[in-house]
Symmetry: C2
Subunit: 122 residues, 2 copies
DNA sequence: ATGGTTGTACGACGGTTTTCGTACTACGGT
DNA sequence: ACCGTAGTACGAAAACCGTCGTACAACCAT
């Protein structure tokens, strides 16, 4: 059994959490963990990156205290630390999940409604 | 009068907002804007960085849609776009502000309670 | 007009992050 | 014992980010 370091619930730092969640790939992981069932293996995530990059992202999330990971055979199962996060930073995770969903819906709507229309300026 | 680009309220992107708020200096700015009065000049923020770095951070916040800025003479006044953010990503800003305050209190408590005590591991 | 205040532009530097590929380990099944 | 699957470690490359200093622009007061 390989050991995995996790910060205690009161050691979770806002900086680490926000940095972790600022990345779209990692937000995608978190979103899938939130909407799907618990304990999903890394392989279950269809990420647009290679295996080693994927390992990296999961590690960042774990070390930030966003997810908990444990081995089960060769598989490494991940769970959202929703309760710990809620205790430490109330409302933060739900707000980000809502925002992620909102933006996703937004992009899909834009995609179906006005195909070929571009934003002019930044 | 110099013009300043701001994203429209429905152009605010989650990625930009989270990236902007992932930086402690910028979170400090936002926190001061939230707790103090509106329309504070950059100079009113006692930031641990030089002027040019400060300019940079304000620009990042503005381009992310977190703050609104306008000139008044040589001064550049900043306001939190709390309403726009609330419309776009409900609960996000309040949660981050609460979290910022929570962590700040935490650090101060740690500082007064156990001076000289260090964290052993990461 | 001259000078002071407030902020910007630009280039540079150093550190971190994201990404990859390759080689490797751990475990389960047959 | 062997193979396949799941994931890690490590090193490298490229991009990005935060910081600074210097030089500059805009504006106000006198």
């Amino acid at each position: 059994m390989r050991a995995l370091a996790h910060p205690a619930h009161d050691e979770i730092e806002l900086d680490a959490v926000l940095s972790a969640l600022a990345d779209p790939v990692r937000r995608r992981i978190v979103h899938q963990l939130a909407t799907g069932h618990d304990d999903q293996a890394c392989i279950a995530f269809d990420l647009p990156v290679t295996k080693s990059t994927s390992t990296h992202h999961f590690r960042v999330l774990r070390e930030a205290g966003v997810i908990r990971q444990h081995y089960q055979g060769t598989a490494k199962l991940s769970t959202l630390r929703a309760d710990d996060l809620e205790t430490r930073f109330p409302g933060l995770l739900p707000a980000i999940l809502t925002a992620t969903a909102a933006e996703k819906a937004d992009l899909e709507k834009a995609g179906t409604e006005k195909i070929g229309t571009e934003k002019a300026d930044l």
